[in-house]
Amino acid sequence: MLDVLAGFVRELRASGLPVSLTEDLDAMEALRHVALTDRGAFKTALAATLVKSHAHRAVFDTVFEVYFSLPPASLDWIEVGSGVAEPAEGAPGSRGAEDGLDLDSTELSAMVEEALRDGDDERLRALAALAVMMAAGITPGRPMGGSYYLYRTLRSLDLDGALGRLVAGARGEVGDEFSPLEERLARDRFEERVARFRDAVEAEIRRRLVVDRGPEALARTLRKPLPEDLDVMHASREDLVALRQALQPLARKLAVRLAHRRRHRRRGHLDFRRTVRQSMSYGGVPAEPRFRRPHPAKPEILVIADISGSVAAFARFTLQFVHAMSTQFSRVRSFVFIDGVDEVTRFFDGAEDISEAVQRVNAEADVVWVDGHSDYGHAFGAFWGRWGEEIGSRTTVVLLGDARNNYHAAEAWVVAAIRRRARHVYWLNPEPRSYWDTGDSIVSQYAVHCDGVFECRSLRQLARFVEHLG
């Protein structure tokens, strides 16, 4: 047991969770008080002592599943409740062992649908095991990722169809008064169950892979970065959801920190008059220097973002993040470009829902000039012509893009001109540093005119940059 726990904690640390030695000891201590046979209590004990932030919980759950997976689900109930579930079933004797189950995938889907309708978790888990056994085709020793098996299993089950039929079934039960509201509620209910079933399938696949490869090896392949470390450029759809959820709290925390820092920053300049007056009470000795109240200047931020395909996801995140933090700046203006450039501040002003504003940016901004391939040179030139005058000495300009210019002219003089007017010019590049200046990337031509060029691939890096701005 100790060995397993040690491996478990090591894996948590490898995944980026800060587990200290005391917490490790606390976990051991906590386990003395729970029954090891009670999986829920066991998990609670470990989670309460080892995971101290909700953002880390998903990682913990995955590692926990790998190290302490459920025992294989029992298939006994099929014999009992088979009458309705599988009318086509033969005599009970015809199934039992792993390969002896003569079900085909349609029958299995029917059973899954049945269990989904009843919301019977125990049965769903057993069915998930069955489905994996039949459809995933896990062969020992094959170096295949879990997602491949997941895809194979789910493909055989047609869950989307089942979802539609379940909602239709619910409608059929109630009859004509089935209102759209009820339909929506029913759909949400079934969707949640389907999600639970998918989780069960995933857990089962993991369990089988653990049996095959051992927990350490599997945990390594499943190791996933924390949401704030996800690479925005290569994020999958689920990753993007996680990122969006991480965005708001992060912006809020950062805003609190910036406000705090602004309020408590070092005192202002020496107030000579008040110091002299104060010195009267010490016989003219300036014993107690007085300072002016600092006037914290909130910077004005101007974001110019490339939203062409390659960096679109990243640009969206940055715009969303900067606008979520807009209270911390005196003004935020944003521009987007591909080969033409357009101001999009109006979408954010007065928009209560930032993600909606971002969608409008994509749909409505007028950013294509010729062919819709990035042309930094032309976009910058156009920007300078229309808005260059409005850059003032308090403006911080943030340029955003991978500087992949499709071999167009760089027009780097624009950046230099902006630099002369603005307080600071920064460039954020969502590509890894090693890719810069390869192919058609011309970061360094612009970089010489910037105050700083930052690699910015994850939310954490973005947050660090924004903190630096405030």
């Binding site: 800060p18 200290s20 005391t22 917490e23 606390d26 201590e29 906590a30 008080h33 729970v34 829920g40 209590a41 609670t44 004990a45 989670a47 309460a48 002592t49 995971v51 101290k52 932030s53 909700h54 919980r57 209102s179 759209p180 509201l181 339909e183 929506r184 509620l185 949400d188 209910r189 949640e192 969006r244 709290p249 809020r252 925390k253 609190v256 920190r257 705090h260 209560e352 829902d353 993600s355």
Partner: protein, 299 residues
């Protein structure tokens, strides 16, 4: 400081909590149970309005303990959290000594050390919540509410109390707890708490309850609601929480909504009714508009 544990099992915690009107899931009950067994504070985090503070209150109620509450705010300091010397009383004491002297009863003036010993006695100590919880002889539950509101530096004040259950007062020495109180800290996660604080605590994340539990909560807290209506309320709230909103409805808002529906004499929830009462669940106009569009419009 070893003493008899308060609970025999996590199930017992769950049962007694529900008797006190708090429907805990096994996770919550399990952490409370461990908090008692390990003698460690429990740090409760989660969205606003999911019953974090209520948990501490209910635990106090079910164990028959006194609840001592320290509400945190920016600028909270030692003299508000730990203890303070009652300097007015100290001054009076010194004055009184002098008056007695001048009355000329012939006694020699009191030595400074006597006075000092006298005025830094327990009599002149004003206890604040943390010290009060430590010194209490009766069973207490200490609730440190919204701990994320104090500055990082102030957090350090809590550390000695949380790890050793003692308070050091320079003039008096160290006050150690006679019994380990149950301690709950709540946080709305407006900032990251320091590692030192987190390390000393057990962590509990209280999330929105699942529909079945929420239905039970509604049934328990809203008198006169039918089971059918409670189920519908829980289902609608679940659907609303699945949308991407600025502020999803909390449990307390669910209860407000359910109460309103009962007052309106509703027996079932339909789209019209939801649209008319959405402002009870959601507090932002944009959220209300979005939910009205998503939930109640013809599919």
């Amino acid at each position: 400081m070893t003493e008899a544990p308060r609970f025999a099992s996590a199930e017992e915690v769950q049962g007694r909590l529900s008797a006190a009107g708090y429907l805990a899931d096994p996770g919550i009950a399990g952490v409370v149970f461990l908090g008692d067994r390990l003698g460690k504070p429990v740090l409760v985090e989660g969205p606003a309005g999911t019953g974090k503070t209520q948990l501490a209150k209910s635990v106090a109620e079910m164990t028959g303990a006194r609840l001592i509450r320290l509400q945190c705010y920016e600028g909270l300091d030692e003299s508000r959290a730990l203890y303070e010397w009652n300097y007015r009383k100290q001054l009076l004491r010194i004055q009184a000594g002098r008056v007695a002297e001048e009355a000329g009863d012939g006694s020699s003036p009191a030595a400074w050390s006597d006075i000092e010993e006298d005025i830094f006695g327990e009599e002149f100590l004003l206890t604040r919540p943390l010290l009060e919880a430590i010194r209490a002889d009766d069973p207490v539950v200490l609730l440190i509410d919204e701990v994320d509101r104090v500055e990082v530096e102030t957090e350090a004040l809590l550390l000695e109390v949380l790890s050793d259950y003692q308070v050091s007062i320079p003039e008096l020495g160290t006050v150690t707890a006679t019994q380990v109180p149950l301690v709950f800290l709540t946080s709305n996660n407006t900032r990251e708490l320091s590692e030192a604080l987190k390390r000393r605590c057990l962590y509990l994340h209280v999330d929105y309850p699942d529909p079945e539990r929420e239905q039970q909560i509604v049934l328990a807290k809203v008198p006169g609601i039918s089971e059918h209506l409670a189920a519908q309320v829980a289902a609608v709230v679940r659907s609303i929480r699945r949308l991407e909103l600025k502020k999803p409805p909390s449990v307390s808002e669910t209860l407000d909504w359910a109460r309103t529906l009962v007052l309106l004499g509703a027996t079932t929830v339909d789209a019209e009714r939801v649209r008319g009462t959405l402002h009870l669940l959601l507090k932002y106009q944009a959220d209300i508009a979005k939910a009205a569009r998503e939930i109640t419009v013809e599919a």
